[in-house]
């Protein structure tokens, strides 16, 4: 239990997927203008990450390792993850059209979200079991969601501020992101190394 908690804290705060590992920056910048859509994106990504971690684990242990196909890992993972995302997108379009409308064109972006590929690869590298893999996917997704909401809140405020023309829009968003990453450096060492 303590391990699970530590791992979660490690993934959410210390080794945050966006601000420390710098994965998944595309939706982080792209879908963070409104808190609502940022939250939706965070949830969708968490869901996909958990699923893809599971799928990747299955693939790893059912196919890649038994047949010694480790060198195909990246390729195979991409195929599987792309399929999972497509599936989720289609299912969401049908069953949750409102959420689909909010996430709009960013849903396919999850396919190219390197965090979704990165987390299974990191899991495979660390040789995690199924439980830890899923936890890794979920924890990273939770960290992603947390940072997305914080960042969207900041950007919503910035949208109301008199930011100079030169910096308005993406420049100030990047500076804000960098300062947010600076703040997250404070968590360094909070969990003994290896937590995540």
């Amino acid at each position: 239990m303590r391990d699970v908690l530590m791992t979660l804290i490690g993934l959410v705060l210390v080794n945050n997927v966006v601000l420390v590992r710098f994965l998944g920056l595309c939706p982080f910048m792209g879908v963070s203008k409104k808190i609502d859509s940022a939250f939706g994106m965070g949830l969708a990504t968490t869901f996909v990450m958990t699923l893809s971690a599971m799928a990747a684990w299955a693939l790893e242990h059912a196919l890649l390792q038994p047949f010694g196909l480790g060198y195909l890992r990246i390729l195979a993972y991409i195929v599987v993850i792309a399929a999972v995302v497509q599936f989720v997108e289609m299912a969401m379009h049908k069953t949750l059209p409102d959420l689909h409308r909010v996430l709009g064109i960013y849903l396919p972006l999850i396919t190219t979200n390197c965090a979704v590929l990165g987390i299974p690869l990191l899991n495979a590298q660390a040789g995690h079991g199924l439980g830890m893999s899923v936890l890794g996917g979920f924890g990273s997704g939770a960290g992603f969601t947390l940072v997305m909401i914080l960042f969207a809140g900041l950007r919503e405020r910035l949208a109301l501020m008199r930011v100079p023309q030169t910096f308005a829009g993406p420049p100030v968003a990047f500076i804000t992101a960098s300062l947010l990453a600076l703040a997250f450096m404070g968590f360094t060492g909070l969990v003994p190394a290896g937590g995540g």
Binding site: L63, L69, A76, Q86, M90
Partner: protein
């Protein structure tokens, strides 16, 4: 060689397996096309005046949904329609950009010859009058579509902003320095 075959075989297996799953899903979760054109068309004033440069309100709605026209393209609808469409489609629109005053037709009594051309043209029955009689405009019904002014033989019709009264006056937005 054997390794290559394994690789090709396994990837083919993964690919085709997933392809089948997705194919089934595509059927299972099929969704009809875009309903937004109709929704936007319902928001436009339906005057079909052509001021936007599109053939009628349906054409404008299509262009707005497709993104080739701005929601602000409809002069009769003005700010209200523009903001409503922008919100519906999730387009960012600066309210100050569309800050225009609605115009309505005003008939100059001295010039009106009572030809009823405007009366017959008006898409919203906003003009009253009969042959050889002075015409008048219902302020509440006029969209300011300008069709009557174009066809008026004596140029008696002009488009003018609604008169400002204590009831319709709006406190101006403060111009904040610094």
């Amino acid at each position: 060689m054997e390794q290559m075959i394994t690789a090709v075989m396994s990837l083919t297996a993964i690919g085709s397996g997933l392809g089948i799953v997705l194919g089934v899903a595509a059927r299972r979760f099929a969704v009809e096309g875009d309903s937004r054109v109709k929704e936007v068309e319902d928001m436009l004033p339906a005057a079909n005046c052509g001021q936007c440069g599109f053939p009628g309100c349906a054409g404008a709605a299509e262009a707005i949904v497709a993104g080739t026209a701005s929601p602000t393209c409809c002069p009769p609808g003005g700010k209200v329609v523009a903001l409503a469409i922008a919100e519906h489609l999730g387009i960012a629109l600066d309210a100050d950009e569309v800050d225009d005053v609605p115009l309505i037709a005003v008939i100059e009594d001295a010039l009106c010859i009572g030809c009823t051309k405007c009366y017959r043209l008006c898409p919203s029955d906003a003009i009253i009058g009969a042959m050889k009689q002075l015409h008048g405009v219902f302020e509440d019904a006029c969209t300011g579509c300008n069709q009557c002014a174009e066809k008026c033989p004596t140029g008696a019709i002009t488009m003018q902003p609604l008169p400002l009264t204590v009831g319709t006056w709006v406190m101006p937005k403060p111009a904040l320095a610094a």
